[in-house]
Symmetry: C2
Subunit: 434 residues, 2 copies
Amino acid sequence: MMTAEKMGSTHRPRPRATDYLIASKRCELRNLECFLQMGKLVLSIGNLIHHLQRERGASNVYLGSKGERFFDELGAMVSNSNQQQQTFEYELLEIQAELTSHPASISLLNSIAAALHGLDILPVLRADIRRQSVSAEIAIESYNERIRHLLAVVFEAAETVVDPAIAGMLVAMVNLMQGKEMAGQERASGSLGFSRGHFDSALSRRIAHLIDAQERSFAVFERFADEELLMLWQHHTNAEYWRDLQHLRGLACSVGRYKPLDTNLSGQWFELTTQRIDELKRIEDTLEDHFHRRCIARYTEARSALTHEEDLMDALDDAGPDQDPMRALCTGDYPGDKPDAYRSDGVGQKLGRSVFELVQQQAVRLEQLSGELRLAREALEDRRTLEKAVLLLMKRQRISDDEAHKQLRKLAMDQGRKLPEVARSVLEMTALLR
Amino acid sequence: MMTAEKMGSTHRPRPRATDYLIASKRCELRNLECFLQMGKLVLSIGNLIHHLQRERGASNVYLGSKGERFFDELGAMVSNSNQQQQTFEYELLEIQAELTSHPASISLLNSIAAALHGLDILPVLRADIRRQSVSAEIAIESYNERIRHLLAVVFEAAETVVDPAIAGMLVAMVNLMQGKEMAGQERASGSLGFSRGHFDSALSRRIAHLIDAQERSFAVFERFADEELLMLWQHHTNAEYWRDLQHLRGLACSVGRYKPLDTNLSGQWFELTTQRIDELKRIEDTLEDHFHRRCIARYTEARSALTHEEDLMDALDDAGPDQDPMRALCTGDYPGDKPDAYRSDGVGQKLGRSVFELVQQQAVRLEQLSGELRLAREALEDRRTLEKAVLLLMKRQRISDDEAHKQLRKLAMDQGRKLPEVARSVLEMTALLR
């Protein structure tokens, strides 16, 4: 049996604190590196979604007008969407090896699988729209589904970030994209109603719901956006076209089935909503640009911190392999958890202090990060919870998602609680009643 | 510019949904594989902690009796601890490559660095105890610190699990180990008081706090333990020695500084608490064994699911590389999101349905898992929040952790809220007031 004294001088290989410290830093670096590439993927997803949204809106003008409007426009839009899809697929291939060999998240990989699978169905959908062999409602729903899968990839990617500065920006991004998608669905639903010349009550309710949902997403975006983005945002909310847009929104929400509208309004509606959505896209692009710059800054920072620490570790190794590690780490006093506990009598002291301080620094930093990260994670979690509760109510009561949202909002209002809290209670209750 | 029709037949490489589906499954498998090895590491940590706890208790009898008791026992215990440390280091080296090349968590790696660094200080601490050149209070604190770092590794490991069945067991494990550590600290503090022959009020308060903290940890353990463990637990709480132990606990908590005790009680105290702690260790070993078996079962399951799906994918590939992927995926009707939308006219239909169903199945499964996982994660998060709030109060008010716990408990009582909620509020408030 070995005694404590013998332990220190044996030469069997032992795991070293410094190896794990360096590995921890490298892991952080790899995560940042991954997001430098992921940023490009998110950009390409944003572009693809943008064009699919436009295609969806135009398809509804086309179908709603029984093929009289937007025949040519639609062709050009499909072509643009295809180009964007190619770029998305190219970016995905670029990081495929990284994503699948150092997988960050099971859910991220599965969401990519679902998104790719969803895109494969587009050509058939487009041909059916062209032939007018599909109802506008089903066409909208099918586009919504593709876009939902693409947004889920961004959402799952945001969940894998461990750097809070970056996580906050991705939360802003996810919510901006989500709000923009609700605006896109509003454009499509309105296009259908205006080109048909009337809105039934389901369609009006749908539009009211979409307006409400946009506001909720954009509120979260505002919480996590930086100053420059907030200025752009303010500019957007004060734009001139809002007066006309609000007027048309009013018609869409209240006109009813039996009061025919001028079908030429569909052109104006498409134009105004498109102007607005294009503006949202520019804000999204700015956010994307800020995100990219932040990733580079954080990566450079982490890279040089790692180099600095690797140098320190090398210095520790150079102090001689025969030197008792105990001696280097704690040269006398043992509550070695406090740096001033090391004796100030030479090299061992200096290096011992370095290792100690680095471990502590990293622990304190990770602790701080985890606190800041929690806010970002909670915002993502709130969104997930709400979506789950809505799906659950839809399934249980066989109601639309507008109706499910409405029930949850009513519950929240009645109980004076926040929407995500109510959603959480609904899920917990159901788990109990299962 | 390409048209939609041309897109389908070009031969540029494209990312495939099936690749990501398989990657998602492989990622899940790797996580399980990692926990098969991690289980051994956790076992070795549990054993090392157990022996350090015993050494800590005996050191306090030794120091409290001014070197009169436990001289020989202590030597044997140190030797056992060293053996356990070797095993721990061996297990760590076994998975070092895996841990550092496919890093699961930055925090896990850093917690290992801190634990290793902490162990390096042990020989010096032991020499000081032997020479009686360190106070019992500082010696206890130093052992507590080493054990705290070791427990943090198990905690961080638990946070990286993605399989809810396994996550729940690790939550039970973390809380059992935490409760056992509080029992160990109770043994050490009591050993000091009984061997000195008196308890000052700080020491009595400390013991009352440790008893309370044990109960809270074990309550969480009970929530996540399986039936067999609950039976063992019931047996433990009804053991015969409790009557004597409760009597000594009563003395320790109330005797006061100026009423001398028979110092021979220290032997009885050490024996009773050790009997209890050894029993806790046996429950821990059973839990470890169940955990290992569960990991193997889940791994085997996931492995065979992956093989099954890879076979399906191969079949899809064999259907011919020249076959248009669109055709295989959706042979006509496009809201291809519903399996019954595929035409029942041949191979394409069958394979299309397979891919679709697999993506859906994995999504539904991940969704269910994430719900179950949330409960386990929340229990871990509650513990982390509480610890952070305690540390914060200790630092701000320069008080002991007993005192900090007491303040939080009082707040919770006054406000009729749960302890983790109050801890969360404290942290949020401080973030606001910073």
